[in-house]
C-alpha cells in the first residue's frame, strides 16, 4: 500500500509567445517561488526536485545543468524527465512515486518550456524514427490534422462542433489570469472564418507555442496536514505507453491498435471504483492540442459513448457551468508551454478542488477531478485528485 500524497503548493508563470525579459532558468524560478509561497514553505523544506522539459524544442541540451540554483535543486536528489508531450505528466507521476514510496516527505516537480528559444515543429519533425519516418512527418500540426479528419469521418462531428469547443476554451481562458491566448471570441461563425492551417485544422483549432513553467509541491500525509488546511490528495496515477509511428499516430485508423487512453482509464477507473466517470468525477483538465482532439478524448476517457464526443459540447455539458466541466482553465488550445502543460492540468484541477481558481472556478462543487497528459508517442498519463480520501 503506497503512502498518501498531497499537493500542498501550486505555482505557475503567466504565459506568452516570447519572454525575452528572462532566461530559461529565471522563468522557471518564477514558478518555483510561486509554489513555495503558496505552500508557505522555504526551499530548504524541499527534499528532492524533479523537473520536466522537452529539451530539443529549445535546442538547449541538459537545461537542468544550468538551473540547479533556480529550481532549488542544488545539493539535492532529483533529475529531469523527457517523454514528449507527456513530459509534465511523467514528472507528476515521478514525484508521486517518490513521496508514495516513503523515500521523501516533501518533493517538488517542475515542468517548463521556453518556446521562443528553438523551433518546436522542426524538433518534432526530427523526432520520428529515422528509418520509417523520413519524409512523412510534418510536426504536431500535420498529425492533428490527420486526427481531425479521422474524427470527422468516423463520428459525424462537424466544423461547428469544433468551433463550439474553441469558443468554450476561449471563454474560460479569458477568465484565467495565467492563460496565454485570450481572444475574446464571440461566435462560432467567427471561428469558422479562421484560415486553414492544415486542412481541416484552422489556425484557431490549434494550440499556440507558449513560454511558461509550473511547479507543484507534494507532501506525505503527516506533513501535508501540517502544511495546509486544503491539501489536494493524489488518489491515483496511471501511465500507459504506446508507439506512434507504427500505430499510425493519433486516431488509430486501423481499428486494431490499442488506445493508451482506454487502457489507462480501464485500470484507473477499476482501481478507484469509478463506473460512470461523468458522475463519479466532477470535472476534467485534459491535454487537448486541438478542439477536434478534445471531442475524440471525451470518447477515449469514457465521458460518453463512442462517436458521441461532439454531443457533449452541443448540449453544453462540458462548459464551465455544465454538468461535467472540461478545461475551466481554457486548456491547451489557449496555453501550451509543452513541458509544463500537463503539470498545469494537475495544478488547475487541484485549484478547482481547493476552490481557489478565482474567476474560472466552476460553479459546481468539485470534490474529485481528473487531469490527463497526451504525447506524440501516444502516451497517456492520468492523475486522479480528491479533496478527501
Amino acid at each position: 500500500m503506497p503512502n498518501r500524497v498531497a499537493i500542498v503548493g501550486i505555482g505557475q508563470t503567466y504565459h506568452k509567445s516570447k519572454r525575452p525579459d528572462v532566461s530559461q532558468p529565471e522563468m522557471v524560478a518564477e514558478a518555483v517561488r510561486a509554489a513555495l509561497a503558496d505552500a508557505q514553505l522555504s526551499i530548504q523544506d524541499v527534499e528532492a526536485v524533479f523537473s520536466a522539459n522537452m529539451e530539443t524544442f529549445e535546442a538547449i541540451y541538459l537545461p537542468d545543468h544550468g538551473m540547479a540554483a533556480e529550481v532549488g535543486a542544488f545539493g539535492k536528489p532529483g533529475f529531469k524527465v523527457n517523454t514528449g508531450g507527456t513530459t509534465g505528466g511523467s514528472v507528476v507521476a515521478e514525484g508521486f512515486y517518490m513521496v508514495a514510496s516513503g523515500l521523501f516527505d516533501i518533493a517538488m516537480v517542475i515542468g517548463f518550456e521556453k518556446q521562443d528559444c528553438g523551433d518546436t515543429t522542426a524538433a518534432i519533425t526530427a523526432a520520428v524514427t529515422p528509418i520509417w519516418g523520413k519524409g512523412a512527418a510534418t510536426g504536431a500540426i500535420g498529425e492533428f490534422a490527420k486526427q481531425a479528419l479521422s474524427y470527422i469521418e468516423t463520428s459525424g462531428a462537424t466544423e461547428e462542433h469544433a468551433a463550439m469547443i474553441r469558443l468554450k476554451a476561449d471563454r474560460n481562458a479569458c477568465r484565467n489570469p495565467y492563460a496565454h491566448l485570450k481572444l475574446g471570441l464571440k461566435s462560432v461563425d467567427e471561428i469558422l472564418q479562421s484560415a486553414y492551417l492544415v486542412w481541416p485544422l484552422r489556425i484557431l483549432d490549434f494550440c499556440p507555442q507558449s513560454c511558461g513553467a509550473c511547479a507543484l509541491i507534494f507532501a506525505s500525509e503527516q506533513r501535508a496536514k501540517k502544511i495546509t488546511k486544503k491539501p489536494v490528495w493524489i488518489a491515483d496515477v496511471e501511465v500507459v505507453h504506446q508507439e506512434p509511428f507504427r500505430a499510425g499516430v493519433f486516431g488509430d485508423p486501423t481499428g486494431k491498435e490499442t488506445y493508451t487512453q482506454h487502457v489507462a482509464c480501464e485500470r484507473l477507473y477499476k482501481r478507484n471504483g469509478i463506473s460512470n466517470p461523468r458522475k463519479d468525477i466532477d470535472m476534467a483538465e485534459i491535454y487537448e492540442p486541438s478542439n477536434w482532439e478534445e471531442m475524440n478524448l471525451y470518447e477515449h476517457f469514457h465521458f460518453c459513448e463512442k462517436g458521441e464526443g461532439w454531443k457533449l459540447i452541443e448540449k453544453g455539458i462540458t462548459e464551465i457551468e455544465g454538468e461535467f466541466p472540461v478545461n475551466c482553465s481554457g486548456g491547451v488550445i489557449a496555453t501550451n508551454p509543452i513541458g509544463a502543460t500537463p503539470v498545469i492540468r494537475v495544478a488547475e484541477a487541484a485549484l478547482q478542488i481547493r476552490g481557489d481558481a478565482g474567476e474560472h472556478q466552476a460553479p459546481k462543487d468539485i470534490k474529485t477531478a481528473i487531469a490527463t497528459a497526451l504525447g506524440g508517442p501516444n502516451w497517456t498519463v492520468l492523475v486522479l485528485l480528491k479533496r478527501s480520501l
Partner: protein, 156 residues
C-alpha cells in the same frame, strides 16, 4: 557554429542566436535492414508475423508489442492498400527531404494489420478520400530507404 548577438529594442536584454548541427548515424538494425533491402532489390514490401497474435507488422519489427514474441516469420504484403487518413502540409521545414506540399497519410496495406505512414502522389489533394485504394510507386534508382517507395498513388 556562428553566434551573433542582438540587442533587443527597448529592453536591457541580449539575445544570442545559434544553430546546432550534429552529424549522426543510425543503424536500421536486423529487421529494418531486411525490410529496406527487399524494397531496394525486389520492390517488395515485407512484414513480420506474430505466431501468437497472428498479427502482421508493416513496417516489420523484431518483437510483438503485445506478447513479446521474437518475430522471425517474414511475409510479403501487397503494394496496394486502403487510405485510412491523410493530410496536406504546405509549409516546408528545412529538415524534410521532400518539397512542399507534403501530402501524406496512413495506408493499410492488403495483408497487414498495421497502419503504414507514407507520402501520396499523382493526385490532386482535393481528390483524396478516406477509404480510397492506393498503390505504391517505386523509384527507379533505389538506395534502401523508406523513400525507395516514391509515394502511393490512387488505384484507378
Amino acid at each position: 557554429m556562428s553566434t551573433v548577438t542582438e540587442k533587443l529594442e527597448g529592453m536591457d536584454v541580449w539575445l544570442y542566436h545559434g544553430q546546432i548541427y550534429i552529424p549522426n548515424t543510425y543503424s536500421a538494425g536486423a529487421v529494418g535492414s531486411k525490410f529496406l533491402i527487399e524494397l531496394r532489390d525486389r520492390k517488395r514490401i515485407v512484414g513480420t508475423r506474430c505466431p501468437t497474435c497472428n498479427r502482421v507488422y508493416v513496417p516489420a519489427r523484431s518483437i510483438c508489442k503485445d506478447c513479446y514474441s521474437q518475430l522471425d516469420e517474414w511475409v510479403e504484403v501487397s503494394n496496394k492498400g486502403t487510405l485510412l487518413t491523410y493530410t496536406v502540409c504546405n509549409q516546408q521545414n528545412a529538415i524534410q527531404p521532400v518539397e512542399a506540399p507534403i501530402v501524406y497519410g496512413i495506408i493499410q496495406l492488403d495483408g497487414a494489420d498495421t497502419g503504414f505512414v507514407h507520402l501520396l502522389g499523382e493526385v490532386d489533394p482535393e481528390q483524396l478520400k478516406v477509404g480510397m485504394r492506393v498503390q505504391a510507386v517505386f523509384k527507379k534508382e533505389r538506395e534502401a530507404s523508406i523513400l525507395d517507395i516514391k509515394y502511393f498513388k490512387p488505384l484507378v
